[in-house]
Subunit: 173 residues, 2 copies
């Protein structure tokens, strides 16, 4: 059901395999995350069959601004730093994403390059859903895919509100 392991160029990442094979304790770890909102246990277990889990050691580069990549990451544990580099190489931290936040969803839905660089600041655990996995889910489990897409749109809305507020603040409206 899942495509081959991603990230295999990256030795600081450990592939824990298909998230659907996890022991029941795994459910307790993810059931309250916003991306799974209004999905019941059976639905989350079904959804997990379309995702893989990874552990990233601290300072692991997950992806670079400008990279192509069509997967979304859901942070289960740890902290992910979102960075933009200026023309002079100076770096600015745009966000620190903790448990429950997602990253990479823009490239997953629009197919455009990554808008920022993401690094695991500490040892982190996350789930990965690819565009391919999402399409398989939509075909085979459309109700679950609907809820997931709705929750993803909610996350994007939240980020858009926050970013617009910062922009409006700077513009002095």
């Amino acid at each position: 059901m899942l495509e081959p392991t991603m990230f295999d160029h990256n030795k600081s990442l450990e592939d824990l395999g298909e998230a659907g094979h996890f022991p029941p304790a795994f459910f307790g770890l993810v059931q309250d995350l916003p991306l799974f909102q209004e999905l019941d246990r059976a639905q989350i277990e079904t959804l997990a069959r379309y995702m893989r889990a990874y552990v990233a050691r601290e300072e692991t580069l997950l992806f670079r601004e400008g990279d192509f990549g069509d997967f979304v990451l859901l942070v289960v544990e740890g902290i992910i730093q979102v960075i933009k580099y200026g023309d002079n190489g100076e770096q600015q931290t745009l966000a620190l994403l903790e448990r429950g936040r997602t990253l990479g969803e823009m490239s997953m839905v629009d197919g455009k390059p990554r808008s920022a660089t993401c690094i695991a600041l500490h040892d982190s655990v996350f789930l990965v859903l690819t565009n391919w996995g999402l399409h398989a889910l939509a075909r085979e489990q459309p109700q679950i895919a609907n809820r997931l897409l709705f929750n993803l749109a909610k996350e994007l809305s939240q980020r858009l509100r926050q970013t617009t507020d910062k922009l409006v603040g700077l513009l002095g409206v």
Copy 2:
């Protein structure tokens, strides 16, 4: 299938009724809009049964920042001005949305108040989908709802990329 007419407090808006009752020419007007991407004619006609169409005369207020409202508008014709007001009443135009763009999707998915004020600058035609309509669609036509939600997430991603770019530009990264 549709809830009662919205906007009935607003005399500058004309309710054209359920979009699914429109003549075939209507299809030609909307088939190339991004929100309907990868939906075929039959699917767009089905989807239209969950939407209403409206005409707004120029200078019609569609909604105010802070309003509650759970519907998304798809601009078919015309121009919609998106405005933020400062504490001193000064107004700043955040965007001018033309044919094909959507507005109001954030409140539709997260249930929070409108983030900006929207006004039809010229006579405009638009389609409206409410959260209620989206949920009915998800229940009765999950494959079409999946595609619509995917396209909506794509629109939100595009807006988030644009807003982040403006913010990063102002921050001088």
